[in-house]
């Protein structure tokens, strides 16, 4: 199986400041890859390199010929002076038929929003509309940059469930960046732990127990993540009543 996108020794520097150095990775059709890493670790720069918005200082980014990428940006500020209905937004930059727009909105769980003004949407609705727009090109690779920022926990959990469903329906690969490790990792095939370079990568369980990952997140984020990781790596001999759905995978 040829990969959709291949980064080879990608190095990106902003004004003498090296953000990414020697990042090599590739994404196969249909897999969900999550990039985790602390603030300033170059996660967004990595995604921007993949979509072509960031020129590498060294190294190469190779896309499969004719690769269709659906991109969901981190945040999208729409100036209140710009009148824009959801339906019109979907036709940017290329016009799509009403049927196609309705189908994408349905897939993204935003079926009833077509006539609304973008500026009147709630955070969750806005994210679903962005997802619908990314689905219009029938993407082979869906890219999400911290797509659930500003959503509450149930909201983002629902959003990631939707992503998984979309992946099942369309068979597209997903590359995403997230802070919400506990939600995202369970849904990922592969996790890449980034901190300027690739610290470690592999299946979620593997990364969660890797010393590099612990070094990054164990001390950096205090209690919350350490506690969470503890949940993942709980020993099987003590007496827990609550449900551990991860056990099946272990």
């Amino acid at each position: 199986m040829t990969s959709l996108i291949t980064l080879d020794g990608l190095t990106v520097a902003h004004g003498g400041n090296t953000v990414l150095s020697g990042v090599s990775l590739s994404i196969a059709p249909g897999e969900i890859v999550t990039v985790v890493g602390p603030n300033g670790s170059g996660k967004s720069t990595l995604l921007r390199s993949v979509i072509g918005a960031q020129k590498p200082s060294r190294g190469t980014v190779t896309r499969a010929p004719g690769l269709r990428i659906g991109y969901v940006p981190q945040k999208l500020h729409i100036d209140p002076t710009l009148p824009l209905t959801v339906r019109r937004f979907l036709s940017l930059p290329e016009r799509v038929s009403d049927a196609r727009a309705a189908e994408a909105l349905q897939q993204a769980g935003a079926g009833d929003l077509a006539a609304r003004q973008m500026s009147s949407l709630s955070g969750g609705q806005f994210q679903r509309v962005l997802l619908a727009r990314a689905l219009l090109c029938n993407p082979q690779l869906l890219i999400l940059d911290e797509a659930t920022q500003g959503l509450d926990q149930p909201g983002s959990a629902a959003f990631y469930q939707r992503i998984e469903k979309v992946r099942q329906e369309l068979g597209c690969a997903v590359l995403m960046v997230s802070h919400e490790l506990h939600v995202v990792m369970a849904a990922s095939d592969r996790v890449i732990c980034l901190n300027g370079h690739v610290c470690c990568e592999g299946a979620p369980e593997h990364v969660a127990s890797a010393p590099e990952y612990r070094a990054l997140f164990g001390t950096g984020t205090q209690g919350a993540l350490a506690l969470y990781r503890h949940e993942h790596n709980h020993s099987h001999d003590h007496d827990c009543k609550h449900d551990h759905h991860h056990e099946a995978a272990e």
Binding site: R48, I51, Y71, D79, T81, T85, R88, P93
Partner: protein
């Protein structure tokens, strides 16, 4: 054409031409918060007038060249130490000052500075009319051609990249269109009021528009209304034409803001 012999008809046609080109471009200026950018480009054009007169080239060419140079300088310097508004303030006012000083050096030519600062729409000749409409059509064609890409780049540069659009190229398209509008409008409203023709009709159109296209269309209608009505006002009250056009546009903006508030309240 005997119709064009009447200076008032020529003036009205000139005003309509400028309003048609300025309105859709003005929408982008509003959406992208480039108001000061438009202002700076316009102010710089007085330097273009002085250069054109001293090198004996057409004022249109001189203004177009300076406006383009100004706009590209600003784009190139942006994000290199100074905030955009500081940079624009420095460049706009210094080029206006240099332009005014340069004009005073011109010997042998006595130019009516007021005509360039506030426009001289009643003195529009057939040749001016051809330049104005030529420029307006060019601007409209440019915007029509790039419309979707411009809108996408305005929404979000990364979104544009992902769709294979280079936002910097679209910025350049807007810059060129802006320089053209400034060069074309200098005769009609003058350098000090060009930004008003860009901004006010677009801002006045906002409360009544649900899509970007409708906002541009309504802005064009309001702009034309202001141009024609302002001329009649100027004729009836014996006031300067360019400022009268802007005054009427401002009144339309006030009325539309009020109507917008009422509309909002009725919708709840």
């Amino acid at each position: 054409m005997t119709l064009l012999d009447d200076f008032l008809i020529r003036a009205a046609l000139a005003g309509i031409g400028v309003a048609l080109a300025a309105a859709p471009l003005g929408c982008f200026v509003v959406w992208r918060r480039m108001a000061y950018f438009g202002d700076a480009t316009a102010h710089a054009s007085i330097l273009g007038v002085a250069l054109a007169l001293s090198f004996d080239v057409s004022v249109f060419a001189g203004v177009l060249a300076t406006a383009l140079a100004m706009a590209t300088t600003v784009s190139a310097l942006a994000g290199r130490g100074y905030a955009m508004d500081t940079l624009l303030g420095v460049l706009a006012h210094s080029s206006l000052a240099f332009g005014l000083v340069a004009v005073s050096f011109l010997q042998g030519v006595r130019i009516d500075l007021m005509a360039y600062l506030f426009g001289d729409i009643l003195a529009v000749g057939r040749a001016d009319l051809a330049v104005i409409w030529g420029g307006a059509v060019l601007v409209l064609a440019l915007l029509w051609w790039r419309w979707s890409a411009l809108l996408t780049a305005t929404l979000n540069p990364d979104l544009a990249h992902a769709a294979g659009i280079d936002p910097r190229r679209e910025q350049m398209v807007l810059t060129i269109a802006l320089a053209l509008v400034v060069a074309v409008a200098i005769k009609v409203v003058g350098v000090l009021l060009i930004a008003a023709m860009l901004l006010i009709p677009a801002a006045a159109a906002r409360p009544f528009a649900a899509t970007p296209e409708r906002m541009a269309a309504i802005a064009a209608l309001l702009g034309m209304l202001a141009a024609v009505g302002g001329l009649q006002l100027a004729f009836a009250l014996d006031t300067p034409a360019g400022p009268s056009i802007v005054c009427l546009a401002a009144a339309l903006f006030a009325a539309s803001s009020l109507a917008g508030l009422l509309l909002q309240r009725r919708r709840g």
